[in-house]
Symmetry: C2
Subunit: 505 residues, 2 copies
């Protein structure tokens, strides 16, 4: 009989993310039962063989490359040194249900995996277990253009989906990283540049097919666009990062593609002015489609990677504005916005004149993270944090963050979804230089603390994952985390669903 | 030592709502522990005295009138014959916390009560206990116009709130019954005519202060407009009808009041044509503010109660359309909508020319239920059901429902939030005539079944309460109800929070 190993936090967590060490987790005083006990390596390997027998060889990989690529992410600011025992690739909900039954039987952690583009260690495996790669579940199951909804498997990529359904005049308006898959988008309640107009992922979920910890399968709802029937299970599974169940199929609401678009850019003397102009637009209720800010450093990075279609842009704090609606409505909004920008010292209002130019300008914004990755020096890593604050404070916190980051003497930039009071601070640092890593950690923790002081949140759109558990505890306190724990215990009594994420047992 | 009474469903439920008898609750096969045991009458009365000592005389009423008005509602299609033992009127969150601690100690049901305008027996007391009337908690606690949010106590009325903050140019766009209080609006995840444009209550909740079953108090979040930090507790408490906790304070997002409005009405030869025109508008993405349908009977009722500002309207199926935005955008939408309506046989497009006329037209729509109550014959009651279906099916289900109801030979009308695929069927009947009550029950159950057959929901905006538990079980099945039960047990182990609502233990 193998000796069970108690599920203790992996040291790897702390090694790569100082955040877990520097903040006090005040949720520990909430009473909790004995920590879960997971299967040992031998038992896990036995389960892998059971899976191979049932799902076939193609569905099971113990290849070191696969294990590494599923257990470690260079996109992520938090990682664990522990790797999954195997990568399992189910092809249908029944496969996932079979896996869950086995994992319940043997007490094996299950970590759902999609595109792997999350950035807070959300798919890492600090207690080992099985990485369940849903990317092969990539079928559009049912499309109801007349009802403006679509049923997809978790592994469908959103860009691909929008391409497939484009001719119907409908689209899914949530636009995170172009690599993202719907399942992961649900898991982190992601957003993107369109969130200001269209909301976040939770607003587009009509129903979910979820495999529970014990392998049973539920559907949260049917297909009404509006309901007040029973608990909002869509709301609780969306954003739960695979800790309450594994989402295998999703029915998504769709929106009508607007008939006209407009894109404009304008520069300011300071990020404070740029953010101030953005806040004024929101407060006046101008129907913008998106309102994004990039600072001087980020604009410099874009120029270093070739500018926009070969054209270099001014290296000044810049607002990227998108408009959509009827031709008249777009024109009207552009006029109003230009006036507001003037009031904040902008004198360089550029309107894209062709569809190609619009696309180029917007792709410059969407490619910002890649541009950063492309210019970073050998050996450095990018630590990007994401916070959101009440909208009137966005200018102030961006200003504060830039000043704090400047003191590091490292390359750092700011990029903001100003319309949601949400921004990203990215810093390039060398994780092997302990002093540098400690300084970056302290700086970013300080920015997070500032966001909390302003009544904000420690994560606007990336989730908590492995990296921000202590921050979440600080944001919400032990009582609120205690409620989350109760909900988790009710649905995952053996704590096998993505353990070590959001909060600890 | 008093003998405890096992919490069995009250007969009163079945007496006034045949629905509970006629559908099979398939959630009973889910394994569950022993039913909760509640305090007997003597113990409850002891607790009432404890409350009187702690909260003062004014906060505690055992007056029969108060008990009756809190335990029975003529608005509601479902009622219980059991009444609360007392009505408690807390004035702050700490009071509610004290009540909850006492109720946990003695195992006394707690039923939160606001305006009492819910219609599915949501505030009824089938296991007796304390009716906790939050209407005295009616302060606007904090208003942040610069962040576009407001902090209110649960007992604040939404019309009053919008009046108070109007000069800031902001408003809460959710518009249910004018009597509703914010706490109740959260509890049922209500909506109204604005839902098509602005969504439902869950979309406007920024954070909640919740008193849990054991009396502990949590705040779900801080004040970011966007977050992906931890489980979406706003999502699970909103719409949980007081079965998971008592919401005492709410921070609400606010929207900017549009600069221009427009209201138009147009009649059709059939409700099918009217609903068809509505669906076409949505599918074309025309930015309507509201899209409401009233059938010929409902229009007749309006005329019988004096018409609109004394003017009688055509007694034909009518669409009520509202537009908002810039002057141009409103004009543009009206032109587009008029063309669509022509295609569905409408030749009577009336545009309100003054603000007063707009207000009158819209108030006719908002007063529809009162108008029905005003014309009903002595001894009759109105049974109004509310279902929602995928939008392409709305014309079909309204048509079906009207035909079914016509066979009853009773006065019945249809009123729809067409833009959400949601409609209300109201039937006047005499509950003392057993045959009539049975026929109405069968007819409305049939409409609910039809909605489910179309992949819809048994409640678009009224919640489940006491009246639709069996319908919900039919809609979602035992597995999904089982998940809801797990969540409830985690937060309310003694099942004292509004027991007998949404689903049974």
């Amino acid at each position: 009989m193998p000796v069970p190993i108690r599920g203790l936090p992996s040291l790897g967590t702390a090694l790569l993310s100082g955040r877990n060490l520097s903040l006090q987790d005040n949720s520990q005083d909430y009473p909790h039962p004995t920590p879960p006990i997971y299967a040992d390596e031998q038992t896990m390997l036995q389960a892998v063989e059971d899976l191979r027998a049932h799902l076939g060889n193609d569905a099971v990989s113990v290849d070191q490359g696969d294990i590494e690529s599923h257990g470690y992410s260079e996109w992520s600011t938090s990682n664990s040194t522990i790797r999954p025992i195997a990568v399992i690739t189910p092809t249908c909900t029944e496969d996932v249900s079979f896996i869950a039954k086995l994992c319940t039987k043997y007490r094996i952690p299950m970590i759902p995996y999609g595109a792997g583009s999350s950035v807070e260690g959300n798919v890492s495996t600090p207690y080992s277990g099985l990485s369940i790669d849903l990317s092969q579940m990539n079928k559009i199951v049912d499309f109801h253009p007349e009802d403006m909804d679509v049923v997809v498997e978790a592994g469908v990529n959103w860009v691909e989906l929008n391409r497939e359904i484009k001719s119907s005049g409908l689209f899914l308006p949530v636009d995170p990283s172009p690599t993202a898959q719907i399942g992961g988008m649900v898991a982190t309640n992601c957003s993107g540049t369109n969130a200001m107009r269209y909301g976040t992922m939770k607003d587009w979920v009509m129903n979910l097919t979820v495999v529970l910890a014990d392998g049973s399968v539920i559907q949260t709802r049917r297909r009404p666009r509006k309901t007040s029937a029973g608990y909002n299970l869509n709301g609780i599974f969306t954003g739960s990062e695979g800790t309450l169940g594994i989402v295998t199929q999703i029915t998504l609401k769709l929106a009508v593609i607007p008939t006209h678009f407009g894109v404009a850019t304008t520069t300011f003397l300071s990020v404070k002015d740029a953010a101030g102009a953005g806040t004024a637009m929101i407060r006046q209720g101008i129907p913008l489609a998106a309102l994004e800010l990039m600072d001087d450093t980020q604009m410099e990075v874009i120029n270093r990677t070739g500018g926009i279609a070969g054209k270099l842009l001014p290296e000044k704090p810049t607002l990227f504005l998108r408009f959509s609606g009827s031709e008249r409505a777009v024109q009207e909004s552009i006029t109003q916005v230009r006036d507001i920008c003037k009031g904040f010292g902008s004198n360089s209002f550029q309107i894209a004149t062709s569809e190609k130019e619009m696309e180029n300008l917007w792709s410059a914004r969407k490619q910002a993270l890649w541009a950063m990755l492309a210019v970073r020096p050998e050996g450095t890593q990018i630590w990007s944090t994401d916070v959101a604050v009440p909208i009137s404070r966005i200018a102030e916190i961006i200003d504060y963050s830039k000043k704090q980051a400047a003191q590091l003497g490292l390359f750092s930039s700011v990029l903001g979804h100003v319309g949601d009071g949400n921004f990203h601070q990215a810093v390039m640092y060398n994780p092997d230089k302990i002093g540098e890593a400690i300084a970056v950690t302290a700086c970013l923790n300080d920015i997070i603390d500032k966001a909390l002081e302003m009544d904000g949140t420690v994560s606007g759109e990336h989730g908590i994952g492995l990296g921000k558990k202590a921050c979440l505890a600080k944001e919400l306190g032990s009582g609120t985390i205690g409620v989350m724990r109760s909900l988790k215990r009710g649905l995952d009594p053996h704590w096998i669903l993505n353990p070590g994420k959001i909060f600890d047992f």
